[in-house]
């Protein structure tokens, strides 16, 4: 009986840790995005709230909490209130299976990757519900575009990981990380990005489209749709969509790092050197989390970088790219990795 309580206590601590990680990532990410975009565009970005403007996202959050919560008269009320929650919950729920470290994972289920794919695709319901229930033409168009875009690119996301599964032989995210242990030729890490380079590129492009980031942010293309599906939302309900988007960005970066960049495994070359200096306790408990954070940090910065570098695609270009270029490529990748894997076995 005592063991059960201990188990539950540890579980609760893990959950608090993971949720804090996910939710604290949002203000950090907002700051990086605003500061990064500022410097890319040769301006300063947030400057006044806290040192280097780091407290700006917190100030924004307080402002959003205290804003007037307007409910337009024409909306479909039950769906209108449910939509932000429906958008936010799946984004956060994927964190339940993401291994932040060898021990820091809420649930190591043996179908982890399938769970991530299934839950992350649920997010589209929230956005479509928001678009429809707002009873606004812009919102409806934004919602429909989101739905079509997300389901199209979900196919590519799903197909691009098939190659990884051929190597890992398991759907458990912890097992996938462990399958990438070791090095080739003494210094090249056995990360799946090397045998699965095409798969990673496809995953990356699909990840941008799934999180509605530029160059694929058509659902909320402000120059034509004003704001897209969340146009009629204000106050914290708007903030929930905003948070859902950022949490989804962080979670898809986590999944990408787990699948292609060895998750919490140390970085090549500098990893072993750093770990040989530090005490054993730190190496086994703290360093995996540090490596993981460094890796996802890089990809999150990459997302900001891309956003302010590339122009937005047109909608027909987006669908053409998805269905006519990336989908055949993804199928070809399955075929190619099958051949390479067979050659590796014999």
């Amino acid at each position: 009986m005592e063991n059960v309580w201990l188990y539950l206590l540890i579980l609760l601590l893990k959950m608090i840790g993971v949720i804090t990680f996910a939710l604290l990532g949002v203000p950090v990410m907002v700051w990086v995005e605003r500061k990064g975009s500022g410097h890319i565009q040769h301006r300063h970005g947030p400057l006044y709230v806290g040192p280097f403007g780091v407290m700006q996202p917190i100030a924004d959050a307080i402002k959003l909490f205290l804003k007037e919560d307007i409910t337009p008269a024409a909306v479909d009320r039950p769906l209108y209130f449910l939509a932000p929650i429906m958008a936010f919950v799946p984004a956060l729920l994927t964190f339940a299976v993401i291994p932040i470290g060898p021990h820091l994972q809420v649930a190591d289920i043996n179908i982890g990757l399938l769970f991530v794919m299934a839950i992350s695709s649920m997010g589209v319901y929230g956005l479509v519900m928001a678009g429809w229930s707002s009873n606004n033409k812009y919102a409806l168009l934004g919602g429909l575009r989101t739905a079509a875009q997300m389901i199209s690119y979900e196919l590519i996301l799903g197909l691009s990981v098939v190659g990884v599964l051929m190597y890992s032989g398991s759907l458990s995210l912890q097992e996938i990380v462990k399958a990438q242990e070791g090095v080739w030729l003494g210094f090249i890490p056995r990360w799946f990005v090397i045998p699965q380079f095409l798969g990673w590129v496809l995953f990356m492009v699909a990840a941008f489209a799934e999180t509605n980031r530029l160059p694929f942010d058509l659902p909320e293309a402000e120059t034509e749709l004003v704001a897209g599906y969340h146009i009629e939302y204000s106050s914290m309900k708007f903030a929930l969509f905003f948070m859902a988007e950022y949490v989804a960005m962080i979670s898809i970066s986590c999944v990408m790092v787990v699948l292609f960049f060895g998750g919490w495994l140390p970085l090549p070359v500098i990893g072993p050197i750093v770990e040989s200096i530090l005490p054993v306790f730190v190496v086994s408990y703290l360093m995996p989390v540090v490596w993981f954070l460094m890796k996802i940090g890089f990809f999150l910065f990459f997302m900001v970088w891309v956003r302010f570098t590339f122009p937005r695609l047109r909608y027909d270009q987006l669908m053409k790219l998805g269905w006519k270029v990336l989908l055949p490529l993804a199928i070809f990748n399955v075929f190619l990795s099958g051949i390479i894997r067979m050659a590796g076995l014999t």
């Binding site: 024409a74 812009y138 168009l141 979900e154 032989g169 027909d316 067979m342």
Partner: protein
């Protein structure tokens, strides 16, 4: 074995409850915080400052529907590929599993080319 597998999902259920509590909590809190001062102009549908005309409940492009249908088709293909990929190295001989899946992909590729030729994926 069966029992422990189901028990492994318990943390996810608790996590789900927490996520709903956070999301729902924010919606509830924001309805109480902040002033409430609605007027007919403020709560009218936003249309760039114009007086809204008609409803948003109108017909929309059938291609969205078409994409959804095609998605279902191809998504099921992806789901079928997962167990095959996981077991890939365990086929005996490996080439057997590979060729079998090639046939499956070939059939779907045939469908894909048909859809492409019919112009179902043209958006311009």
């Amino acid at each position: 074995m069966q029992e422990s597998a189901i028990l492994g999902y318990l943390p996810i259920l608790i996590f789900f409850a927490l996520a709903v509590a956070i999301g729902g909590g924010m919606v509830v809190v924001s309805t109480f915080l902040g002033r409430k001062n609605p007027n007919p102009e403020k709560i009218s549908t936003y249309e760039c400052g114009m007086v809204p005309f008609k409803d948003a409940r109108q017909r929309f492009d059938v291609r969205f529907y078409l994409v959804a249908m095609l998605f279902i088709l191809f998504d099921i293909e992806v789901v079928f590929l997962y167990p095959w990929a996981v077991l890939f190295t365990r086929f005996d001989p490996v080439i057997f599993g590979f060729v079998e899946m090639l046939l499956f992909i070939f059939v779907l590729l045939f469908g894909y080319i048909y859809v492409l030729r019919k112009g179902a994926l043209d958006w311009s």
